[in-house]
């Protein structure tokens, strides 16, 4: 499939893509560390937002800045910056999320030359009615800061255009995810993650072009993957495609996820309002939650359960970055919830690299048990 090939290529050559975009357009590139960063506002300023990710290669360069008891993702991201992989970035931005990634941001700001760094406060208690006003005001401040730095005015028309492109992107990816409900999903879990990851690195307008092509092709796909054990992935930041390929090579289909590198990134759209920034704020408040934002009501639970039902999930892999405490608090509750609905779970912890042999054994055993139960 041409679109999937394109996405794979962008994921593999993400730095080259951004540098070529920059050379082609003359625009600035902004690295962001958390998916609570409102990309729409950045995009409306004519800036390409790209998510900063790790490389999953062993490294020893970040240890003197972030101690090893913080999550591997945050250390791996910083390592990429220190190694100069993101030297083309003009700016860096993060939104208030966990302490792990805040260290990445601050160490980056301290040790890697950059002309613009910005921390956006993103409320943690999102069901609180005041959160929307707070975030809207923060977005106004961000808009002003971007305008001052880039010299570009972010007009209402630019915001509308950006919102339209981002909403289209989310809608198309959601439509592709819908197809994974089929008994024979037309796209694998790894392919789906490549699609989402590519969206984080590409100009969304171009990504949309490829998404349309992909959707058309997948809708016409009659065969799809062999029916098998249907698994859901739940947990913290996860972009280790090797693990997904490994799991699917063992006879399972990863049919849905609750990750910020998956469905949480694009699940809901912006509902237009007169105040564009308030509309954007509302979208980030309403999106499927990171556990750092789910403080009182446990909004994540019904959402996960709904996904389990909609995608006819047989079992779930609860996969978290080692030392990720926000997820560490939620996983026992999610496990208990799924158990009460007869959904078996397997818990795995990832580091910068994964222990392939161990994981293979554990995932294979899990799939075998599920297969027996299904039969």
């Amino acid at each position: 499939m041409e679109a999937l090939d394109k996405f794979q290529q962008v994921v593999t050559e993400r730095h080259q893509y951004a540098q070529e975009w920059k050379a082609r357009t003359g625009g600035k590139v902004m690295g962001y560390l958390c998916t609570y960063v409102p990309e729409e506002v950045i995009y409306a300023a004519g800036i390409l937002p790209v998510r900063i990710m790790g490389s999953h290669e062993p490294q020893d360069i970040s240890e003197m800045h972030i101690y090893g008891m913080y999550c591997a993702h945050s250390r791996d991201c910083l390592a990429q910056g220190l190694k100069g992989e993101y030297s083309y970035l003009d700016g860096i931005i993060t939104a208030h999320s966990c302490m792990h990634i805040r260290q990445t941001f601050d160490s980056w700001r301290r040790h890697i030359p950059i002309t613009f760094s910005y921390y956006l406060y993103m409320p943690a208690h999102l069901v609180n009615p005041s959160a929307r006003d707070c975030l809207t005001e923060e977005l106004q401040a961000l808009k002003q800061a971007l305008e001052d730095w880039s010299g570009n005015t972010i007009s209402t028309q630019a915001l509308d255009h950006s919102i339209e492109i981002y909403n289209t992107n989310r809608r198309l990816m959601r439509q592709i995810y819908e197809l994974r409900k089929r008994e024979r999903p037309p796209i694998s879990g790894a392919g789906s993650m490549e699609m989402v990851l590519a969206s984080m690195f590409m100009d969304k307008e171009e990504h949309n072009y490829w998404l349309r092509s992909m959707l058309e092709e997948l809708q016409q796909e009659k065969n799809g993957l062999e029916p098998g054990v249907r698994l859901m992935l739940i947990g913290s930041e996860s972009d280790d495609l090797g693990f997904l390929h490994l799991t699917e090579s063992l006879g399972a289909n990863l049919v849905i996820d609750d990750h910020c590198t998956g469905s949480r990134y694009f699940w809901n759209e912006i509902i237009p309002e007169e105040d564009r920034l308030a509309a954007i704020a509302q979208r980030y408040i309403q999106r499927p939650l990171c556990p750092q934002k789910d403080l009182v009501e446990r909004r994540r639970l019904p959402h996960i359960l709904q996904l389990v039902k909609d995608y006819k999930v047989h079992g779930a892999i609860l996969i978290q970055q080692k030392f990720c405490d926000p997820h560490g608090y939620d996983l026992p509750v999610i496990k208990s919830l799924l158990k009460s609905h007869n959904i078996p779970t397997l818990e795995l912890e990832t580091d910068i690299t994964i222990p392939v042999g161990q994981f293979r054994t554990r995932v294979e055993a899990f799939i075998e048990v599920l297969r027996q139960e299904i039969l």
Binding site: H96, D106, A124, H125, N128, S130, C134, G328, Y329, K335
Partner: protein
């Protein structure tokens, strides 16, 4: 540093009063239900005044038996294991895991007389990743309603946005507490409590500031003992008055060169929460004439300071000292929001942007000869940026060491290794053991 001078020492005169206060608060908490007063879970060291408008209340804080558990290694481990059986990982906040574990073991809410006392509701401030998450679990355990006040971690340049958000949440919290308790909220009591909370924190900052003196009038162990009052009762008049008493006494000790440790010749800071269950780390330096005089975290967690752009601190003034009159609920909540968002460096340091600079300024200002960091595996908020802080100290030629452990989980501390490491560090500063005196 090797000159040996013996300073006069004496116990604190107000120590006994502190013990009485702690006992009073402890008893009033257990008797709250009998007296028809609300019993409140949560409220870990912030915004204590919020519940004051309900009148007298019992406040559970982090759990009434935390100190007792920390003195009993086996019990501490049983608490951790109980929480882990429920699925909580060993790298979640150990302090709060102890609290949850004691609830799961059914003694968190057992009074000294054996009654099981169920809190009425839970309200908590959420600044680090663990706070509201654990309080939610505890409130689910007890089946009681829960309200979280999200503390905005926001740069000073946009502090008004954060203040508005926090104040709005506090207004909601008050309405929610009225609804949950069916009690009329008394703003006059809130106003008084806010003044007390401010007074307590300013006193804490002054006392911390007095630690710049040579010899230091107090040591870190004493600060650890004072913490109990600050965690859940800093809004009470008794606490604020006692802290003023302590402040006066410490000032007097400075004037008269009365030391916490007679042979002080090397001053150390301990950064991160101390391992509450372990006394030897705090004591060992004394063998070399060194003493822990405090730490950035210990000063910052309960102290009200003005923080300059370069990370330097200055003791803050209370609203009254600044000529601000707190007349109504809005004023009181505004003062409370400012206390935590602007004047409590512990909160602003969660942003990390000045944490390195503050560490250097504290080490220099408090004339520290060395800084010891605990890389606390189970307090990710406290330990954040410790390695960056070390780099900052290195640049200024200030020696430091790190050790791994946990403030509340004894299984995480390799005591002998840490003591050896600490001893080597002290020797690297040129110190030799004191001659027997």
């Amino acid at each position: 540093m090797n000159t040996l001078q013996k300073y006069e020492t004496k116990p604190l005169d107000c120590w006994q009063r502190m013990k009485e206060l702690r006992k009073d608060y402890f008893l009033s908490m257990w008797k709250a239900k009998e007296r028809g007063e609300p019993l409140i879970l949560g409220g870990y060291a912030m915004l204590s005044s919020l519940s004051a408008g309900l009148g007298d209340c019992g406040i559970f804080g982090v759990g009434p038996y935390f100190s007792r558990i920390m003195r009993d290694r086996d019990l501490a481990i049983r608490c951790h294991e109980a929480a882990e059986v429920k699925g909580l990982a060993a790298d979640t906040c150990a302090t709060l895991r102890v609290s949850l574990g004691s609830a799961l073991l059914d003694f968190h809410n057992r009074s000294p007389w054996g009654d099981m006392v169920v809190p009425d509701f839970c309200i908590d401030a959420h600044a680090c990743e663990a706070q509201a998450k654990t309080s939610l679990m505890l409130s689910e355990h007890y089946g009681i309603p829960f309200f979280a006040v999200d503390i905005p971690i926001i740069p000073e340049s946009r502090i008004e946005i954060g203040k508005n958000y926090l104040i709005s949440q506090m207004h909601q919290a008050i309405e929610w507490m009225e609804k949950v308790t069916k009690k009329k909220y008394d703003d006059e009591l809130l106003l008084e409590a806010v003044q007390n909370e401010w007074r307590s924190q300013v006193c804490w900052a002054k006392i911390s500031d007095f630690q710049k003196a040579i010899p230091a009038p107090l040591d870190l162990k004493m600060f650890n003992s004072f913490t109990t009052l600050m965690v859940s009762a800093k809004h009470k008049k008794g606490t604020a008055d006692w802290l003023q008493m302590l402040c006066d006494e410490v000032e007097d000790r400075v004037k008269n060169q009365i030391a916490a440790f007679a042979w002080e010749r090397c001053r150390l800071l301990h950064e991160g929460l101390p391992p509450w269950y372990n006394k030897s780390i705090m004591k060992l330096p004394q063998k070399y004439g060194a003493t822990f005089i405090g730490g950035r975290m210990m000063f910052a967690i309960h102290g009200a300071f003005e923080v300059a752009g370069d990370g330097a601190w200055k003791v803050a003034k209370t609203p009254t000292e600044r000529g601000i009159v707190i007349k109504n609920r809005d004023d009181a909540l505004n003062a409370l929001a400012e206390l935590y968002l602007i004047y409590t460096p512990m909160i602003s340091s969660f942003l990390l942007s000045l944490k390195v600079e503050e560490q250097v300024k504290v080490a220099q200002g408090w004339k520290a000869d060395g800084v010891i960091f605990i890389l606390d595996r189970s307090c990710k908020g406290g330990a954040a940026h410790h390695v960056e802080q070390r780099l900052g100290l290195q640049n200024e030629g200030i020696p430091s060491m790190v050790y791994e452990g946990s403030s509340a989980d004894p299984r995480e501390l390799q005591e002998i290794q840490v003591l050896d490491h600490l001893e080597s560090f002290l020797q690297s500063l040129g110190l030799t053991p004191l001659p027997l005196t």
